[in-house]
């Protein structure tokens, strides 16, 4: 098993390197010159001065050298400075990451907590009215993008009923209740699609498990339905669920950009969007690499968990 983990880790590092290089390439090859951010355009008459600044910032070096320099700094936690706010990219990230992290954690917890009972119920009563309603609802939720759900919820819960604030964010330090009030609507709008995906996964998984012999023998022993469903059936299905949650992190990260924009939340996604509009390349690069890194790390972790728990995978690989 150790060689397998080692192989996974090597691949992880290789992927991260490639991802950061691709981002660097994207940000550097495409139109826009970093010199315009350093010296105002009308101050660029003095060719010699411009050339001197270029040399100073290393803008004349070949791209591979610049990438090496950026990477060397990045592994030490230095992602450069934002050319717009002149704060360091890493300080902006540490300031905003908690918002996005909280949003994602609340979303995933909420969806999983709802999807497990729904999925189990639908599987247990396969083909019944209950199953039809749950499966139909899942299919509908799957088709509602975050911005539509979010806007609708703002309209209903903030504008019509006035229960929750429409936009904005209260930090955790401002009190738990105020914090929760601002996270509910964004999390709900992200959760719809997640609930749908997880419910479908749990349903089809439990349906398969219910055919197993050990479930039959548990029935024969006279164990209660609920005990069988949640103890015997759910455990193997939880593996699949973990994988799907991991795979879905990418979609969720994309979703946070939209939802943070809609709810004006000071998270990473909103910052990325602002940086993109302001052509703040260092910021775009830092956040994009970070998001891709989180995604790749989560997926590797899921693979490893999966392998530790299920010995069959180890043999297959």
């Amino acid at each position: 098993m150790l060689p397998f983990i080692a192989k996974r880790l090597v691949r992880l590092v290789a992927t991260l390197l490639a991802v950061s290089f691709l981002t660097f390439l994207l940000v550097n090859l495409l139109p826009g010159d970093a010199i315009n951010a350093l010296i105002p355009i009308d101050a660029q008459q003095d060719r010699e001065f411009v050339e001197q600044v270029r040399e100073e910032w290393g803008l004349n070096d070949p791209m591979i050298v610049r990438y090496g320099r950026w990477l060397g700094d990045a592994v030490q936690g230095n992602f450069g400075d934002s050319i717009v706010t002149s704060r360091t990219v890493s300080s902006e990230i540490t300031h905003r990451l908690p918002v996005t992290a909280e949003l994602m954690i609340v979303t995933v917890l909420f969806s999983v907590m709802l999807a497990i009972p729904l999925g189990v119920m639908a599987a247990y009563r396969e083909g019944s009215r209950v199953d039809q309603v749950i499966s139909g609802m899942a299919q509908l939720f799957l088709s509602i993008p975050g911005f539509v759900a979010g806007l609708l919820m703002i309209y209903i819960f903030a504008m019509k009923l006035g229960w929750l604030p429409a936009t904005g964010w209260n930090r955790f330090s401002n009190g738990l209740l105020d914090n929760l009030k601002t996270v509910i609507l964004p999390a709900l709008s992200l959760a719809l699609i997640e609930i749908a995906v997880y419910t479908r996964v749990v349903r089809s998984d439990v349906m398969n498990t219910l055919q197993e012999n050990y479930v039959l023998s548990a029935r024969a022993k006279g164990l209660g339905n609920r005990y069988i469903l949640f103890r015997h059936c759910l455990r193997p299905s939880s593996l699949t669920l973990i994988t799907v949650v991991g795979l879905n992190i990418g979609t969720l990260l994309g979703g946070t950009v939209v939802v943070e924009f809609l709810f004006a939340m000071p998270g990473l996604g909103k910052r990325l969007l602002d940086a993109i509009f302001q052509r703040d390349f260092m910021m775009v690069q830092g956040i994009t690499v970070l998001i891709a890194t989180i995604y790749v790390l989560v997926n590797t972790a899921v693979d490893l968990i999966y392998m530790v728990v299920d010995p069959r995978i180890r043999k297959a690989d």
């Binding site: 981002t23 993008p145 309209y155 990325l272 994009t288």
Partner: protein, 282 residues
């Protein structure tokens, strides 16, 4: 569609398929629909109608906050969704399908190289990569958006095609073809690729739904086609400001988007099920 012969479509699935046909025809022949307004005509500038009008006989869905006819904008907005998703499906299944089938069949170094590249691109969350590329490109007409989305659709199709090709390569008829000394290229085009197609087609329908959602999100963020060109996402975004005055300009494009995506998923599920029936019968 030939793949749909496995089982009968339910009444509801027929409605979904019907809606998809209506949307496609409407988008293609938008210019020929009698009575359909000009989607960019701002009536209030000429003393003809007001902004945020309620639905009426003149404007069946009302007008938006620039007093443009919402129905017309939805019909024309469908063009954006369709062009982008069609490009993605075509580019994805042609290039991704070919590469995937090729490397799944020949394996070895080609396989390792192409899949490494695929993994790197898939390591970016889709929307984030799309967002970055589209903005950095700086130009945002329909063709650019469609090309970027299409290019980024190649990796997922490659993965699906490869997995299918791996399975197909182990089937008896491929073994038989090898045994009688058929050339590799012939096996690839005669045996492997045709047998990957049903899976790819089912994936394409679901993927088209995903792409429509992606384009919607991009447009909602103001990063898809430039205004005044209508797209469902940018209509929702524009209506966001005047939600308190009139909610309908936000509701209509949302409904169009949700129902189209729902229909694609529903019909896609149906095809997958009927395909499962077929492959089980083999």
């Amino acid at each position: 569609m030939a793949a749909g012969t496995g089982s009968r479509m339910s009444f509801f699935t027929r409605i979904c398929a019907g809606w998809l046909i209506v949307i496609v025809l409407g988008a293609i022949f938008a210019d020929l629909i009698p009575g359909l307004k000009d989607p960019n005509y701002q009536g209030f500038l000429f003393g003809d109608g007001a902004t945020n009008e309620r639905p009426s006989w003149n404007h069946l869905m009302g007008t938006d906050n620039n007093s443009r006819d919402i129905l017309a904008r939805i019909v024309y907005g469908a063009r954006v969704s369709l062009v982008v998703s069609m490009t993605a499906v075509v580019m994805g299944s042609v290039f991704g399908g070919f590469f995937g089938a090729l490397v799944g069949f020949v394996r070895g170094k080609t396989d390792a190289t192409i899949m490494a590249a695929v993994d790197v691109i898939l390591a970016f969350p889709g929307l984030v990569l799309l967002l970055t590329v589209v903005t950095l490109l700086g130009r945002r007409d329909l063709m650019v958006i469609a090309a970027v989305v299409g290019f980024l659709s190649i990796p997922p199709y490659t993965r699906v095609a490869r997995a299918t090709a791996l399975a197909v390569s182990r089937r008896e008829f491929v073994m038989a073809a090898r045994a009688i000394g058929t050339r590799k290229r012939t096996i690839l085009f005669r045996e492997i690729i045709p047998n990957c197609l049903p899976t790819l087609m089912a994936f394409a329908l679901v993927n088209a739904a995903v792409i429509i959602l992606l384009e919607g999100a991009l447009a909602f963020l103001g990063l898809s086609v430039e205004p005044p060109t209508a797209s469902w996402g940018n209509m929702v975004n524009a209506a966001r400001v005047d939600l308190t005055i009139n909610v309908w300009p936000a509701i209509w494009p949302s409904l169009a988007l949700v129902f189209t995506v729902y229909s694609l998923n529903n019909v896609g599920d149906h095809l997958r099920r009927s395909k499962a029936v077929r492959s089980a019968a083999l």
